[in-house]
Each structure stands twice: as structure tokens, then as C-alpha cells.
Symmetry: C2
């Protein structure tokens, strides 16, 4: 079964910054290039470690610009540093693997229908919503099957 996807948009983070009137600089390009190469969600500290020649302040500032531009999603992580992922599709929700932390995006019309039906029941005006689905992703499932068939039970949650 394929992962749930929907209308991926072209990702060009440095352009997203220029569209907001920000200059194209070496430091910003280094940050956006790196983010585009990371397939998973990442933390700010992680980026700082991978870009030792870019100052911490610049990494944090660039991330903030990208979130403001809507090019990055800040994921509502409960513990530890917040994580970010590229917003590849317009309005979407996230799947988060509770074992490896891999983040996926999905869009589902039923979620939007739920919102409309809730509108009648909620005591106030709905201005937005957010949904995360916690999963064990297929590669983690595969790993644990290998481990359990070999008698090795080293899966940590």
C-alpha cells in the first residue's frame, strides 16, 4: 500500500525567502539547501550541528523566516525541542512514527467534513485545526518483524 500523498508542490526554500523580500545570502542558502536534503523532520539544534560554519542565531532566524513564509511546518512535539518539516502540500496533517520519528503528510477530505459538522456543536467560531496521527511506520514494522523472527527483541519505544 502506498503512503498517503496529495498534490506535492515544488519546494524552493530560498525562493520562499526572496519572495518575502529577504536577501539571498550564503548563510541562508546553506541552511535552505541543507533542509531540502533532509528527508525527515529536524530540530534547530540538529541543523546547527550539521552547519558548523553558520552561526546559531542565523540558523534559528532562517527557520523562523521559513515558518513565517509557510514553507516550513513547526510540529507540535510534546517533549524536547520542536521539530520542523517542509510543507510540501497546501493544507495537511501529519503522521509521526512513534518509534523513529519519521514525519509524513496527508490530506483527507473526511477531516474537513468533520470540521464542518463540529462547527454546529462547538461553543464559538472555529478558526483552525490541527491533527496528528501517531503510527508505527512500515519500515519500523519491518524491522521489528525481522527482530522478532530472529529472537532478538531490541525494539525500544
Amino acid at each position: 500500500m502506498p503512503p498517503v500523498t496529495a498534490d506535492p508542490v515544488e519546494v524552493n526554500l530560498i525562493n520562499a525567502l526572496e519572495d518575502r523580500g529577504l536577501r539571498r545570502t550564503a548563510a541562508r542558502s546553506a541552511v535552505t539547501d541543507r533542509i531540502e536534503r533532509v528527508s525527515d523532520a529536524f530540530t534547530a539544534e540538529q541543523l546547527c550541528r550539521e552547519l558548523p560554519d553558520v552561526g546559531r542565531a542565523t540558523v534559528y532566524r532562517t527557520i523562523r523566516h521559513l515558518v513565517d513564509a509557510g514553507a516550513l511546518c513547526k510540529l507540535p512535539i510534546l517533549d524536547g525541542a520542536p521539530m520542523y518539516s517542509i510543507a510540501r502540500i497546501e493544507h495537511h496533517h501529519h503522521t509521526i512514527c512513534s518509534r523513529c520519528g519519521a514525519v509524513g503528510e496527508f490530506r483527507h477530505s473526511t477531516v474537513e467534513r468533520v470540521m464542518r459538522s463540529l462547527e454546529k456543536e462547538i461553543d464559538g467560531d472555529i478558526v483552525g485545526h490541527r491533527m496528528e496521527i501517531f503510527i508505527t511506520c512500515s519500515s519500523c514494522l519491518a524491522k521489528s518483524e525481522i527482530n522478532s523472527s530472529s529472537g532478538n527483541s531490541s525494539v525500544s519505544i
Copy 2:
């Protein structure tokens, strides 16, 4: 229109701690009593300020025990300190007023149905989900109506 509610369970935080084999102490009672009196969501720092005679470490520890016991929900706030609210109903989602921060709980069977239909499409096993609805609550709506008709705009966000 009434707020959405569902089967409120009796809340007794100190008992929730005792059920987990933790002692009933003056400091813990002070913390749980305070939490039970707070109607809204709160932060750890807020509790510390309101309980100057209880050590910070104890406040943080007690909150963690309550979350572990399932008696408190840790809300996934994107910016600033995480907030906590009493888990009054079994499995539920949250409404968060984006103006005043008031947190409500709701349960909706359609959300559960969405999960079941997504199960077929997601690339992995679903192990949990979370949903937050951002609203402007009825009292904030009322305030802004009063202000716009009287010209007084003292609403603070």
C-alpha cells in the same frame, strides 16, 4: 448553543497519585488542590508562582506524575511553555481559544470514524492520534461585539 461535553469523570488528582503508590504529602496536596481550582489550562511556571511555598522541583515532579497517571493532559502548544489541563473525559480532543487560551474538551464519534477510514490509507500501523481545534470562544466573541458597538477596544490578546 451549549458547549460540547461528554461524560465528565470525577476528578480527584491526589487520589490519582495515591493510586500509583505515591504518598499523600502537604506539598502534593497543595499542587493538586490548586490545579483543581484552576478552570483553564495552566503552565508549570504559573503554578510555581501561585504556590510560592512549594519548591519548583516539586511542582514539576507532581505535574509529571499526574501526566503519567493520565490525570492531566499535556497540550501541544507551539510556542512558549507547554500547558496542562485536567483530563475530565476519557478519550477526547481539545478546543483552544486563540484569543484567551481557554481550553475545552470534546469527543466526537466522527473523529474516530475518520481514524478507521485512514487506517486503510496510511503506510503503517496507527497507534494514536491527536486533534486540536482552534476557536474564538463565545465569551471572546461577546467581548469583541461589545467593544465594536461601544467603541471601547480593550480586548487583550
